[in-house]
Each structure stands twice: as structure tokens, then as C-alpha cells.
Symmetry: C2
Amino acid sequence: MSDVPLAIGIDFGGTSVKTGVLYRGNIIEESPRIDTQEFEAAAPLIFRINETITELREKHPKIEAIGVGMPGFVDFPTGMVHNLTNVKGWQKIYLKRELNQLTNLPVTVENDANCMAYAEWKRGAGRGLHHLVAITLGTGVGGGLVVDGRMVRGANFVAGELGQSSIDYQGPDGAYGNRGSLEDYVGNQQITDLAHAAYTKAGQEKERSECEPAHLTTLALQGDLIALAIWDQVAKMLSTALMNCCWLLNPEAIIIGGGVAKAGPLLFQPLEKHLRAQLSPAFKENLRILPARFGNEAGIVGAATLALEEAGFNVDD
Amino acid sequence: MSDVPLAIGIDFGGTSVKTGVLYRGNIIEESPRIDTQEFEAAAPLIFRINETITELREKHPKIEAIGVGMPGFVDFPTGMVHNLTNVKGWQKIYLKRELNQLTNLPVTVENDANCMAYAEWKRGAGRGLHHLVAITLGTGVGGGLVVDGRMVRGANFVAGELGQSSIDYQGPDGAYGNRGSLEDYVGNQQITDLAHAAYTKAGQEKERSECEPAHLTTLALQGDLIALAIWDQVAKMLSTALMNCCWLLNPEAIIIGGGVAKAGPLLFQPLEKHLRAQLSPAFKENLRILPARFGNEAGIVGAATLALEEAGFNVDD
């Protein structure tokens, strides 16, 4: 173990910060979560994160780098966090510089969806591939793109926002005025709404909570036709955004993770059908649609792996 | 002139093949067009193209490379043309190998939309940029993408097909079963149909030919409200596909060419409005929406420039 570099991965969420130590793609220790809502400003929260880092480094002296995944736009080279909507005081915070000064370790700060994509690319379902589309389906919809063996960050380091891409030019306004954004069709809430409306229309009254994706999966596995139809509908809508990625980027694989992906074949089978029906042979012959390897740990794994690579370590072994 | 390399660019269209000599981004000579419909198979047409090349080389002995833009999918490394729908006998034709054997010059074969994007990137509106989306609006809609200073070709070299991306998941089936493909909304014919229907609905009977994009431009410039509304509608539909490119790739610029782009401000002004209204500040602050520099000559310029670069010459001067 002595020659393999360790890294700390920090998964900064809207409600809590998770921190873990990564060794060869595995989290070997995880610290107690930090509740972001206890902090009124960025500085004391960064101070608290640094305490966690110090504790982990005392146990694991071989830690070589720190990676942080943030739930918002990040200026990748400077590691500046533009703005967090759910955490107080996080506007234009130079997190990379702050943590680097506190720890004297190389620090990398990246958008959380890119970290998840990075985890799948380097340690998960996309290992060894050069052209990838990764998507996470949960409350929101996030994405990360790999083109020609490089993460796509774009001119301002904000690329990969699959959830904001449109599937209907006449759709309702999204979070940024973007009409018909995917997130507004296949997010957790939207799937629940869709199912609730379908059951109501069919004369089967259900509580809204009974229409959540996890329940729909159970119902569909029992042969419930409405639940099956909802998953088919979700797959159809999702296939449009993924098809667009295929026509634009011609990836080798699409990797799908997040809570909604737990529906498994109920989602993946109709998705394969809808997606392949809308691509020419040149695009679909080698295309693979894969479930993500990582679940909640993707953020820590991706951030730590990215930090090691940015610090000059080879993570492709 | 003696130290600057010359190249031949070949713009292979559905009905004719155009061939020209490029010197520093300018076409200094163009050969008579070859009519593709006179040929029943690939071999005699390739033979005829080679005669044109020979004639040009006799006049310009400094020609260093040959580039060909094809109206179909190309396997870029081998220069194999998969299939042409409008020209007889073009299935799995190893054009790069054939022309290379006939001419003993380095040959590059690429999709025509990528050639146009390449012309704009290296010699036109996108010079010096590293993140570009280029789109050509005509009978069909083509695209080319530059990410991190590299042309995006994808796993099977078929990336960049903006015209096949969807703007409506419930739209009509496109050429490949792809529902709601952009090409089926903003192609020449579709704009004409849209305008014809709008005038008919308003009780102003017009010939279909009077509703073509060029006529709509004239009418709109005269203050015709229906023509203005059609251009706004085209801009709205187009903005959705371009917005998707922005959310996915965060480009520095979008370059718009092709016959339909001749509408100028009638298209570009509403497009700016619709596009910027659907992007977050991080995406739009530096975004530029630019008219293409090149018109019909883009194919020759792009193919020849790409061929020079692939042959090891610096074309960024």
C-alpha cells in the first residue's frame, strides 16, 4: 500500500458535506457528515472541512491530494465556486486557494456531476473508454461528457449540463428560462407527478408518496400497467436528450446513474428501444447503454480520483 | 508564394463535384464542375476527378495535399465513404486510398459539414477560437463542433450532426426515426411550408415559390408582418438546438452559415433574443453568435485547409 497514493474526496451537497479517503478506487474511511445548514458563511464551513481533513491525514499520512465536488458552477482552473443556491454565503469563493493554503496539499475543485462522470470514466462503467456521456437522474439531472479522452469543460468550464438541455422547444420555462429542459420532465418530482396524474385519470386514487420512482418500480415489477407505461414514457423523454448527445458527440457509451436509475431494466429496456430507434447504424452499432457502477459514493470517488490525476498521479491502472 | 503550400480542395455534392486550388485561405483557381449524375459507378467518377487534379497540378506544381468533403458519413482515419444517397455506386468506397494511389499526394476525406466548420474555424469567423459550434442552414442542416481546440469526430467519426438532433420529443419521425429533428423544422422546404401555411391562413394566397426563404427576407425587409413572424419562429426553433449545444459544450461562439443565414439580422436578431433568454449568465457572457465568413466556397476551403494540416503544415498563420 505504501507506493499507492491516497487522496481525500469531498462531496459537497446542498445539505451536507461528505468526506472520505480513497485508495485504489475504494473509500477506505469516511468521516461523519458536516451539516451545511449550521454555517452562516463560507469561512467557518471551510474551517470545519479542514478539521476533518486534518483528522483523516493523521490516520493516513500518505494522502497526496484533495478533490472537492461542488453542487454549482466552478471555474475549474482557479477552483472558484461561483454561487451555491442552498448554502449561505457561497458566492465567488476561491475554495481551491483556501484549502490549499490550509493543507499545503494540491486541491482540485470541480462541479459534482463532472466528478460523478469522472468516477465512472476512471473507476467505473466507463473505464478505458474515450467518448462518454454520463447522466445522473435524481431530484435534478446532471451530466458529464468525455470527448477524445478528455472531460469536456467548455469555454467557461460550465459544460455538460444535460439536465438543462431541451426536449421540447414549446415546453415550459426551465430554471434558466430554457424551455422544455430535461430536468423538468424526468426529475424525481416530475416522474411522481406524471404517475400521480396517470393513476388519478385511471380512477385509481393514490397518495403522491405512493407514486415516487421507488414505488413505481415495485408496482411495475408486480405487473402494474400504469407503472410500466410511466417508465416507458420516462424512457421516451430521456431518450430524446440522450439521442441528441449521440448525434452531436457519437459516444461509445452512455452511463446512467442516480436514484431514478435504480428502476433498472424497467427504465433501461424501454430506453434501449427508444434510443436505438432514433439513431442511424453508424451511431448505434457500437453504442452501449450502461448502468453506473457507483451510487452515493460517486462524488467522493470522482473528486479524489480527479485530484490525484491533476496532481500528476496515474489513475488509469 | 513559393514557400507557402498549396492544396486542392474538392467539394463533393449530390449533383456536382467542385474542385479548387487553395492558397493562404483563398481559392486561386476553380475547375469546371463535374456532374455526378453522368457516372454510373464510383471508379469512373474518381478517374474523372483525378484528371481534374492532374490538370490543376500541371498549372500549380507546389500542391502538397488534397482534401475532399463528402455529403455523407466518412470513416475519417481510412477515408472510407460509407454511402451516398444521391450518387450511384458509392457504398464503402476507400476514396482516400484510391486518390492517394492515383496522385501520390497525401489525401484527407471528411464529411462536408465538418469541412465547412473547419473552414470557419481555421480561415473564417472562428479563427483563434477553441470551442465552436458551426451550423449550416440550407436544404438540410449540417453541423461541426470544435471542443478544446479539436474537431469532435466521436467514436465512429460521425459526430456533429446538429440537423438530426431533436427539438421536440413528440415531433414527427426524422430521416433516421429521430423524432422532432431540427432539419425537419428549419430546412429550406420546411420554412417555405411554414410561410405558405401562414399566408394561406391569413387569407393571402401565395405561390409556394413566393414563400421561399429568399422571398421571405425581401418581404420582411418591406415590413411584411407574416414574414417577420416566420423568421422569429425559425429563430425560436433553431435556438433550441443551439441552446442544447451551449448547455452541453459551453462554446465561445456559434457560427451560422448556409443559404438560410442570408436572411441576416432578420434571423440573427430574434435568434440572439431567444438563445440568450434560455442560458444562465455563465454560458452567455462570452458567447458570440456570428455569421459564417464563407458561402459556397466553404467546402473547398475547409477540405483543402484540413488536408494541409493533416499533411503536417501549419495553417494557423
